[in-house]
């Protein structure tokens, strides 16, 4: 189960975890969050801990920080931080280590900073908590740190509140905070997962750069093998609370030993750069033709203060043939989700036309559009939030068609058939959403959309919330459904790799405009616009031009 661990001289090891078992409270799906795990983080190295949700990687990190919730207990094993065993250490001693010997940065920089305190005060606080320096020296140090993490105008930044900063900038502030007392170990819990791909590349670069400069030891938790390929010296692979494989990055990536690792690596979406074999359809006339579509957001009150005007969708035009998939790719704020909502008329457009089967739906009123609604369906991002927890799956599936006049008995038969079709048991019909996993819920979401036999499916980040192995299955399901039903799809995503898997054509959006549109081969191998080139270059673990950079033999 556990790969053999090479004995290392203790002086070489910054963090050593031995036979660690962490109990979960009773009534959870398993007894242990992690069981008998052992690994070492050598000084001056980056160790990546990789696993899917529920693998126990975050619990391990929190155990090392001494930040486990009260109901979750370390039941056996040892954690040596810089030679000290912290398991069973009294709270106040643990506290004096946090922030000083071991620091942590988190996944979501938007919520990890206190909105009511300035950036400077939050960095200062780390030093105050450990009684380091005078208020003047702390201030100087804080400004120095802000400079070090590459923030513009550090003096001004010191007095800034977090809401003024972008996600990437906030993650830099988090890093500055974590570095304030020059800790031996930095734990980074999915620090780039919530960031755009170009920002992610910058933050990875920064972490690696600082780690090298300071000779720090970094434990980097991620679910993305692309990120592992970018920065890891060594890798620990976790599955359901166990370490299934560990070794050097080279070794794990190039010749993974455990089947789970191989499966994980194989499931990572890669830039294919190969065009999809298009589906042959009888009707070639475009099902959707969008011309000069506009949407402008206005915020700030109208009467007395100046309005803020944000063009979310700006002169967007494209067409979509039956049975084809158009990928809409862009970073946060590019307008891709607004575009999706405009197309399904959850949002009213300010100008331009949306010709659906030759009819301009942009100008239709809600009542006029309603008969058309079944033909355009949406699959949502968050499979946990998009299903009503108080409705049975059967109700979720049938309520729409019944409202549009289908007799209940027929709707029920169709729903059961569809559930089987998307890979679920027909018994799912009478169950509730909480009884299903994320991937299963997304299947339910897809079945719900298909109940209407739509002509056009809009999938807004439909696989972004899912683990990679589940992601691959859902993409396959969508592909299969398209081949069977000939439905057209608009696939909105921030992940170029995912888009390259499923799309016939990709439109790259930036600041509300489509900056480039073409087949995957063009977008990834021969991008025409500078922005697309930048996006493609920023994808972790991919070298431009090669098709399968990590794990050649999967």
């Amino acid at each position: 189960m556990v790969a053999t661990i090479q004995p290392v001289a203790p002086a070489d090891v910054a963090l050593s975890v031995r036979d660690l078992t962490v109990n979960l409270p009773k009534g959870m799906e398993r007894t242990y969050a992690v069981e008998n795990i052992s690994f070492d983080l050598k000084r001056g190295q980056i160790l990546c801990v990789i696993g899917e949700s529920g693998s126990g990687k975050s619990v391990t990190a929190n155990a090392i920080m001494g930040l486990l919730p009260k109901v979750i207990r370390v039941s056996s094993g040892a954690i040596h931080l810089d030679g000290m065993n912290i398991v069973g250490m009294p709270q106040d001693k643990l506290r004096s280590l946090r922030g000083r010997v071991v620091s942590m940065i988190f996944q979501d920089p938007l919520s990890a900073l206190n909105p009511l305190m300035t950036v400077g005060a939050q960095i200062d606080e780390v030093m105050t908590a450990h009684r380091v320096g005078t208020s003047k020296s702390r201030r100087g140090r804080a400004v120095g740190l802000l400079t070090e993490v590459g923030l513009p105008d550090p003096e001004l930044m010191y007095h800034q509140y977090p809401f003024r900063l972008s996600g990437g900038q906030r993650q830099r502030v988090m890093i500055a905070m974590a570095l304030a007392l020059e800790p031996t170990i930095l734990i980074a819990d999915e620090p780039t997962t919530a960031l755009d791909v170009t920002t992610q590349a910058q933050i990875l670069e920064l972490i690696r750069d600082i780690q090298r400069r300071k000779g720090m030891s970094v434990m980097f938790i991620t679910h993305d093998f692309g990120v592992v390929a970018e920065i890891a010296d060594s890798v620990v692979v976790m599955e359901k609370g166990h370490i299934v494989e560990q070794g050097s990055a080279q070794q794990v990536l190039k010749s993974p030993g455990h089947p789970y690792t191989r499966r994980l690596i194989a499931a990572v979406p890669h830039l294919t750069g190969e065009d999809r074999v298009p589906l042959e359809t009888a009707d070639k006339a475009p099902i959707l033709k969008v011309e000069g579509l506009m949407k402008t957001y206005r915020s700030g009150s109208s009467l007395f203060s100046a309005q803020r005007v944000v063009p979310a969708v700006n002169e967007v035009s494209f067409d979509l043939a039956p049975g084809r998939t158009l990928g809409v790719v862009g970073e946060s704020g590019s307008g891709k989700s607004s575009l999706g909502r405009l197309l399904i008329k959850l949002l009213d457009s300010d100008g331009g036309g949306i010709l659906f089967e030759g009819r301009d739906i942009a100008k239709l009123s809600e009542a006029e559009f309603r008969p058309l609604r079944p033909r355009v369906q949406m699959i949502f991002q968050d499979p946990f939030a998009s299903l009503n927890p108080r409705s049975t799956i059967g109700h979720i599936l049938t309520v729409g068609p019944v409202a549009h006049g289908t007799p209940y008995a027929r709707a029920r038969e169709e729903a059961k058939a569809l559930l089987a079709h998307v890979g679920l048991d027909a018994g799912a019909f009478d169950r509730f959403p909480h009884e299903f996993s994320g991937g299963q819920r997304q299947r339910i979401g897809i079945a719900r959309a298909l109940m209407f036999k739509p002509k056009l499916l809009i999938a807004d980040e439909a696989v972004s919330a899912l683990d990679v192995s589940i992601q691959a299955q859902i993409l396959q399901l969508l592909d299969q459904i398209q081949r069977e039903t000939g439905v057209s799809m608009i696939f909105i995503t921030h992940d170029l790799r995912v888009a390259s898997q499923i799309c016939d054509e990709i439109a790259v959006m930036q600041k509300g405009r489509i900056v480039e549109r073409g087949p995957p081969s063009q977008i990834f191998l021969d991008p025409q616009s500078a922005y697309t080139r930048e996006l493609v270059a920023a994808i972790p673990g991919e070298q431009p031009g090669s098709t399968r950079p990590v794990a050649a033999n999967g």
Partner: protein, 316 residues
């Protein structure tokens, strides 16, 4: 910020206009009318009543009466009491300090104790304290204020004789201590229900804040638990409470009305009930407008306070 203020102010004015129209209409459409009181006097003839109507301008169309009243109101002339002919503003002015004293004290008690109970309940969730606080809040919320008042008078005034049963001060003794002695029971009785409300909201706001990522960040920095709670959790939890304080103001005002009656407290609440009894419409309308202004002002202050405390609104 200036735009925000002007916006809120203009909204408030529109709100006041609506309140005044509705209040005026309801009062004048009620059966009886302002002269019912005079009609009870056997020495008044029908002619006398007609003459009075003419004098007071009550024979004009309702719309004209409203505009006349509103126009005078804007100029500071709130009319005269039917009862003793004293200017309405002066009558209200005599009763306002007592009500403000009672409301202020009980609000302060409610906020202080409610906040403390809420934070402690959230940080010691499902503890004995938390259960007791939950049960206590349910009891305080489900029993009417006047009952607490009567029980309080029975126990502390009649049985134990510790506290006075009513009034604001003993005639002939105007000392601060005497005022405080009289203030204790009414302010605590009035605050009970608000302690309950406030502590429940504070508990859930604190729990929300504790679950936030930045609290984990604060712990990861090595801050003491006390500082994590006081600085990071409470600061953020209090933010929605400021708005709540503004929203709760009308309910405190209503509560004051009941409490003042129970404790014969010489405030606006007593004045309102008395004036209604006498069909003293100018005073009733005046009180209505005055409390509307008070409530709107309270909410305005709460909005401004939130804007000042929250940098996202102040600078955003």
């Amino acid at each position: 910020m200036r735009g925000f203020l002007l916006n809120r102010l203009s909204q408030s004015l529109i709100l006041l206009l609506i309140v005044s129209v509705i209040g005026f209409l309801v009062l004048n459409l009620l059966p009886g009318g302002p002269l019912a009181q005079f009609g009870l006097d056997p020495s008044m003839t029908q002619d006398d009543l007609e003459r009075l109507k003419e004098q007071l301008g009550l024979n004009r169309p309702l719309l004209i009466q409203y505009f006349d009243w509103a126009w005078r109101l804007l100029q500071g002339d709130w009319g005269h009491s039917f009862r003793d002919g004293a200017p309405v503003l002066a009558v209200i002015g005599r009763h306002v300090p007592a009500t403000l004293l009672l409301m202020g004290t009980s609000t302060a008690i409610a906020i202080a104790i409610g906040t403390w109970i809420g934070i402690r309940g959230a940080t010691h969730r499902y503890s004995l304290f938390d259960y007791m606080a939950t049960v206590g809040a349910m009891v305080a919320l489900s029993i009417p204020t006047f009952w607490f008042g009567l029980v309080g008078i029975y126990i502390f005034s009649l049985q134990l004789g510790w506290l006075p049963a009513g009034n604001m001060y003993t005639i002939g003794d105007g000392s601060v201590l005497n005022y405080l002695h009289h203030l204790i029971m009414p302010s605590i009785v009035l605050s009970l229900v608000h302690v309950a409300i406030w502590s429940r909201y504070m508990r859930s706001a604190t729990l929300d804040a504790i679950g936030q990522d930045f609290v984990k960040t604060a712990r990861a920095k090595g801050l003491s638990e006390r500082r994590v709670i006081m600085k990071h959790v409470v600061g953020n939890a209090l933010l929605p409470m400021i708005t709540l304080a503004g929203v709760q103001l009308p309910s405190i005002l209503t509560g004051a009305l009941v409490t003042e009656t129970v404790f014969t407290w010489p405030g606006m609440g007593r004045l309102f009930l008395d004036s209604l009894g006498y069909s003293d419409y100018p005073v009733v309308m005046g009180l209505l407008m005055f409390s509307a202004i008070l409530v709107i002002l309270g909410n305005l202050i709460a909005d401004i306070a939130v804007a000042i405390v929250d940098p996202r609104i102040r600078l955003g």
